[in-house]
C-alpha cells in the first residue's frame, strides 16, 4: 500500500509551503496538551483521499477497514508478521480433521454484543450462510471451497470444505467478521444496507460519524478485561497526503500509516518520540507478460532480474523505505525462516550485470552499436507500465529502466492513471507491469496469487491475480499439496520447491519489498507493535489488525 501523491508539481508545492511554515512555527498546531485527569483522544492519520461515507458494512471492502477488528471481531487473530501465529479471539480453539476437509471451532462463552445480547455459535453459522446467500459480501471467496457450515452442540461450529483447504483457515478464521443474527436477520438487503450503527462484539463502538471524522469510544462492557482502554479514537478524513502528514508530524496524531517523503527531517525530527517502523509484508514486482515475446523467453527475464541493482532502486525510488526483494520471493525479515538456502545459493548474487549480459549473449542476442541487444534484427525493447498515481512507483520504475539500459535492454516507462493501470494489468495488456499482490500470513499466499494457473485468465479477460499468465501443472500440484497439509515441515518443503521455480522460471521478478506504513508516538499511548514485538500489522488499513492493536494500547498515566 502506498499513499497516492496526486499531481506531482502541486503536491511538492504544498510540501514546500508546509515544510517551510512548520520550520517557522514549530508545534503551533499541537493543541492536544494532556488535561490533568482526562485522557487525550487517540487521533489517527490515515489519508484516504475521501470524506467518510459513514457506512460500516464489514463485508464491503470499502467500509470494512472502519468496522472489522474495531467493532466486529473474527474467530481467531492470524498474525501475518509471525508466519500466521494464531491467537484465539471469538473462538477459543480450532482443529482440522477428516483429511483437512473439516474445521471445527469452539466458540467462546460469555461474549456479549454491544447491545447487551449474548453472542453464540448460531451467530457464526448465520454469518457464513449470509456470505453464501449473498456472493457480493463474500470478498474472500470462502464459499469457493466451503460446502456447508453447521452448528454442533451448544458451542461448536463445523466447517466442511469440498477439498483440503488449510490455507483458507486464514480467511475463514482470520478475515471474516462475525455479525449478530438478531439484528442482521431483519435487514432486507445486507449488500446495499449502509450499516450506519454497527453492533459488534469488539472493543470499540462507532460513536459519531460526520463526513470529516469518525469517532470511536471504547466498549464499556468489552469481554476482554483490561483491554480496549483508550477512551476516544478519532479518524479525521484527509483529502491530501500532505495535510495528513502535517497533522501527524506536528503531533496532533499519535498513530499514522502515511507515506512521508524524507521521513527523518519531515517527521522524526519534528517532535520528540516520533518514530516509525515499516515491516515488509509482500513484494512489489515486475510482472512479465509470459504470453508474448520477448518476455516469454526465460533468458530475458533472468537478465532483467540480474541486471537490476535493487539496493540502488530502493534508495533512489523509495527513500530506502522499501528494502530490496529477493528473486526467491521470500520477504525478509518477515518470512526469513521460509527462505531456502539452496534456492538462494543457486541464484547467486542478485545483482550481476556481467552475468545478465552473458545470459543474453548465449541466448542469441548480439549487442548493437547503440548499446542495445538485438536478436534476428529485433531490438530488445520493453515497456514497463506502472500506476501513475503513485509518484514513488514512477520514480522506482525510472531507476529500473536506467538499470536495464546498462545491460543493453531498452526500457520505456509508461505511467498510467490508476484505474486504467488496473484494467490493463487485469486484462494482460502489458509487457512488464510494476505492481503488488496482496500478501498473507505465509509466503505461500503471495506465491499462490502469482503462480496458480486457475487465478489467471486469457489475455483480454480480467484476471484478479496471476497477471503474467503463468501456467505450470507441477506448480499447481505443489500449491494443492500445501493446501492439504497442516504440517509446518511439509509446508516449508513445498515453499522451498516454489522458490526453486521462482529462480529457475522467473514467472515474476520481485524488485522491492512492500512495507506496512506505520508512524507512532508513544508519549500518550504505549503498546504499539514493533520489530521486537510484531504482534499485528500496524497499518491502519489492515483488517482486523489495527482494531487488534487498538485493543492492546494503553494510555500513559
Amino acid at each position: 500500500m502506498r499513499k497516492k501523491i496526486r499531481a506531482g508539481l502541486f503536491s511538492s508545492a504544498l510540501a514546500l509551503v508546509a515544510g517551510a511554515c512548520i520550520a517557522v512555527t514549530p508545534g503551533v498546531l499541537a493543541s492536544s496538551t494532556a488535561g490533568a485527569a482526562t485522557q487525550v483522544p487517540l487521533n489517527l492519520a490515515n489519508e484516504q483521499g475521501m470524506l467518510w461515507p459513514c457506512t460500516f458494512n464489514p463485508f464491503i471492502p470499502s467500509s470494512a477497514p472502519y468496522s472489522v477488528g474495531v467493532t466486529y471481531e473474527t474467530l481467531e487473530f492470524v498474525n501475518s508478521l509471525q508466519s500466521g501465529k494464531v491467537t484465539p479471539w471469538l473462538a477459543t480453539s480450532s482443529a482440522w480433521s477428516n483429511d483437512n476437509k473439516t474445521l471445527t471451532f469452539t466458540i467462546r462463552p460469555g461474549v456479549k454484543w454491544s447491545d447487551g445480547k449474548p453472542f453464540s455459535a448460531a451467530d457464526v453459522v448465520y454469518t457464513f450462510n449470509l456470505l453464501k446467500k449473498y456472493p457480493a459480501l463474500d470478498s474472500n471467496a470462502v464459499w469457493s471451497v466451503l460446502s456447508h457450515v453447521k452448528q454442533s452442540g451448544a458451542n461448536k461450529v463445523i466447517f466442511t470444505f469440498s477439498t483440503s483447504a488449510v490455507p483458507y483457515f486464514y480467511y475463514v478464521a482470520g478475515q471474516v467478521p462475525i455479525v449478530p443474527q438478531h439484528l442482521w436477520s431483519s435487514i432486507a438487503n445486507p449488500v446495499t444496507n449502509p450499516i450506519s450503527h454497527p453492533v459488534g462484539t469488539g472493543g470499540y463502538l462507532m460513536s459519531k460519524c460526520t463526513p470529516q471524522n469518525i469517532q470511536w469510544t471504547n466498549n464499556p462492557h468489552y469481554w476482554q478485561a483490561g483491554k480496549a482502554v483508550v477512551k476516544t479514537v478519532n479518524m479525521p478524513a484527509f483529502l491530501s497526503n500532505n495535510t495528513c502528514n502535517e497533522y501527524l508530524a506536528t503531533g496532533q496524531s499519535q498513530w499514522g500509516s502515511q507515506f512521508i517523503p524524507n521521513i527523518q527531517s519531515y517527521y522524526v525530527a519534528k517532535k520528540p518520540g516520533n518514530s516509525y517502523w515499516f515491516p515488509p509484508v509482500a513484494n512489489v514486482s515486475l510482472f512479465p507478460n509470459l504470453t508474448t515475446a520477448p518476455l516469454n523467453d526465460v533468458a530475458v527475464r533472468q537478465a532483467i532480474s540480474y541486471g537490476i541493482n535493487r539496493p540502488t532502486v530502493s534508495k533512489i525510488g523509495e527513500y530506502g523505505y522499501e528494502p530490496p526483494a529477493s528473486q526467491t520471493g521470500i520477504v525478509a525479515p518477515t518470512f526469513k525462516s521460509w527462505s531456502s538456502p539452496a534456492a538462494t545459493a543457486a541464484f547467486g548474487a542478485s545483482y550481476n550485470p556481467t552475468k545478465a549480459k552473458s545470459i543474453l549473449k548465449s541466448d542469441g542476442y548480439k549487442l548493437g552499436s547503440d548499446g542495445v541487444f538485438a536478436k534476428n534484427g529485433k531490438k530488445l525493447a520493453v515497456t514497463i507500465i506502472t500506476n501513475g498515481g503513485y509518484s514513488d512507483w514512477v520514480a522506482t520504475v525510472q531507476v529500473i529502466a536506467a538499470e536495464l539500459k546498462k545491460i543493453g535492454i531498452a526500457a520505456t516507462v509508461s505511467p498510467i492513471a490508476s484505474t486504467n493501470f488496473y484494467s490493463d494489468v487485469y486484462a494482460g495488456k502489458f509487457q512488464l507491469a510494476y505492481n503488488v499482490e496482496t500478501g498473507g500470513p505465509t509466503p505461500f499466499y503471495e506465491m499462490r496469487q502469482w503462480m496458480y494457473s486457475k487465478n489467471s485468465a486469457p489475455i483480454g479477460t480480467a484476471a484478479a491475480s496471476n497477471w503474467e499468465r503463468f501456467n505450470s501443472p507441477s506448480v499447481d500440484k505443489l500449491l494443492a499439496d500445501y493446501g492439504a497439509t497442516t504440517s509446518v515441515a511439509k509446508q516449508h518443503t513445498i515453499v522451498n520447491k516454489l522458490q526453486m521455480v521462482m529462480i529457475k522460471q522467473l514467472p515474476v521478478i520481485p524488485v522491492l519489498e512492500e512495507v506496512d506504513w506505520f508512524q507512532f508516538n508513544s508519549k500518550a499511548f504505549t503498546g504499539f507493535p514493533s520489530a521486537s514485538n510484531p504482534y499485528a500489522q500496524p497499518g491502519l488499513y489492515n483488517i482486523p489488525d489495527w482494531g487488534y492493536v487498538l485493543d492492546n494500547l494503553k494510555p500513559v498515566k
Binding site: L51, A141, V191, S418
Partner: protein, 327 residues
C-alpha cells in the same frame, strides 16, 4: 412571449443533449467500477474481492446499451440517480446532498460577493479614471487574479493558518464538531470558511473589475450620458442608473455562467482546504469511475449552467428592452 418560448425550447433541447452525452461519455472510459475500486485498495484486499464487488455493483449484468439508456433517462426524471459505487451503498442523491450545501455556501457566496465588489470597483474606477482608486485597485486585483487560486490558497494557509494561527488549517468545520443548527457550530463553519472564501474572492474580483471598467469606459462616452450630465443629474445617479445599468449587461451573462459553475465547486480550493464540497467529490468520482455519481454531478452542473444562462437572458431582456423586440 415569443422570446420566452424560444428560450425555453432551446433550454429543453440543450438539456436532452446534455443528458445523452452525459450517459455515453463515462462509458468510454476503460475498466469498470469494480476494477476502479480494487485500484483504490492499493493491493490491500484479497484479489477475490473483485468478483464480490462486480456482483455488488452489477457490472456484468449484460444490459444492452439502449435499455440502459432508456432506464437512465426514466430514472433521471424520477430523481432516482442510482447508487454511488465509491460511497457504496449510499444513493447518489444523498451523497450529493451532503456536499451541495458546502459548495453553495462557500463558492456561491464568494462568487456573488466577488461579482458585486468587482463590478462596483470597476464602475467607480472607470467613472473616476486616473483617480487614486483607479490607479491602485484594478492593477492589484488583476495581478492577483493571474495567480492560480490553489496557490493563493496555499499561501493563505501558510500565512494566516500556520504563521499567524488566526484561522483553522482545513476542513469545513472542526473535526470533532457535530453538524447542527447551533450558534457554536455555525460560528465554527464561518471561521473555517474565511480562508477558502477569501481565496476565491480575491482571485475572482480582478476579472469583474476589468470587464466592468472597460464596459463603463465605452458607455460613459455615449451621448445619453453626456445628455444626462447636461441635464444636471447628480453624478451618482448617472453612474449607477445610466452608465452602470448598461455597462452591466455583458457582465451579467458572465455572472450567470459563473453562478452555474458554483455547483461544480472550486475543485482546487476544496482540495487544498480539505473542504467537503462538490468540487472535491467530482474529482473523486472521476478517479474512482463512479459512473452514477459522475453522471449526476455533470448533469447537475449542466442544468445549473443552462438555467443560469436562461435566467441571465431573461434578466437582460428586462434590463435592455432592445433584446426583446429584435427577432
Amino acid at each position: 412571449m415569443r422570446f420566452l418560448v424560444r428560450r425555453v425550447g432551446f433550454l429543453l433541447v440543450a438539456l436532452w443533449a446534455a443528458l445523452t452525452v452525459n450517459f455515453f461519455i463515462p462509458r468510454l472510459m476503460p475498466g469498470n467500477p469494480a476494477q476502479a475500486m480494487m485500484a483504490q485498495f492499493r493491493g490491500h484486499v484479497n484479489p477475490s474481492a473483485l468478483g464480490a464487488l462486480e456482483a455488488a455493483f452489477g457490472v456484468n449484468t449484460h444490459q444492452s446499451l439502449l435499455s440502459a439508456y432508456v432506464s437512465y433517462v426514466g430514472n433521471t426524471f424520477q430523481g432516482n440517480f442510482g447508487i454511488s459505487t465509491s460511497y457504496f451503498p449510499l444513493p447518489v442523491s444523498s451523497v450529493i446532498m451532503r456536499a451541495l450545501p458546502w459548495s453553495i455556501g462557500l463558492v456561491g457566496l464568494s462568487t456573488v460577493l466577488g461579482f458585486i465588489i468587482g463590478t462596483a470597483i470597476g464602475a467607480i474606477s472607470a467613472w473616476r479614471r486616473g483617480g487614486l482608486l483607479d490607479s491602485a485597485l484594478p492593477p492589484v486585483f488583476i495581478i492577483i487574479s493571474a495567480f492560480p487560486y490553489f496557490w493563493v490558497g496555499l499561501l493563505s494557509i501558510w500565512f494566516f493558518a500556520l504563521t499567524l494561527n488566526w484561522f483553522p488549517l482545513l476542513g469545513g468545520y472542526s473535526e470533532t464538531a457535530t453538524p447542527a443548527w447551533t450558534w457554536s457550530f455555525v460560528g465554527d463553519v464561518l471561521i473555517h470558511a474565511v480562508l477558502p472564501a477569501f481565496t476565491i474572492l480575491i482571485t475572482s474580483i480582478g476579472g469583474w473589475i476589468l470587464t466592468m471598467r472597460n464596459n463603463m469606459i465605452t458607455v460613459v462616452a455615449e451621448d445619453y450620458v453626456k445628455m444626462a450630465r447636461a441635464k444636471g443629474l447628480k453624478p451618482r445617479r448617472i453612474l449607477w442608473h445610466y452608465a452602470g445599468r448598461n455597462a452591466l449587461l455583458p457582465n451579467l451573462t458572465g455572472f450567470a455562467m459563473s453562478l452555474g459553475f458554483v455547483i461544480s465547486g472550486a475543485i482546487l480550493v476544496e482540495y487544498v482546504f480539505n473542504y467537503p464540497g462538490l468540487g472535491f467529490m467530482l474529482l473523486q468520482a472521476v478517479q474512482s469511475e463512479d459512473y452514477p455519481l459522475m453522471q449526476s454531478l455533470f448533469l447537475l452542473i449542466t442544468v445549473a449552467v443552462l438555467f443560469a444562462i436562461f435566467l441571465s437572458d431573461v434578466a437582460t431582456a428586462i434590463l435592455d428592452p432592445r433584446t426583446r423586440s429584435s427577432t
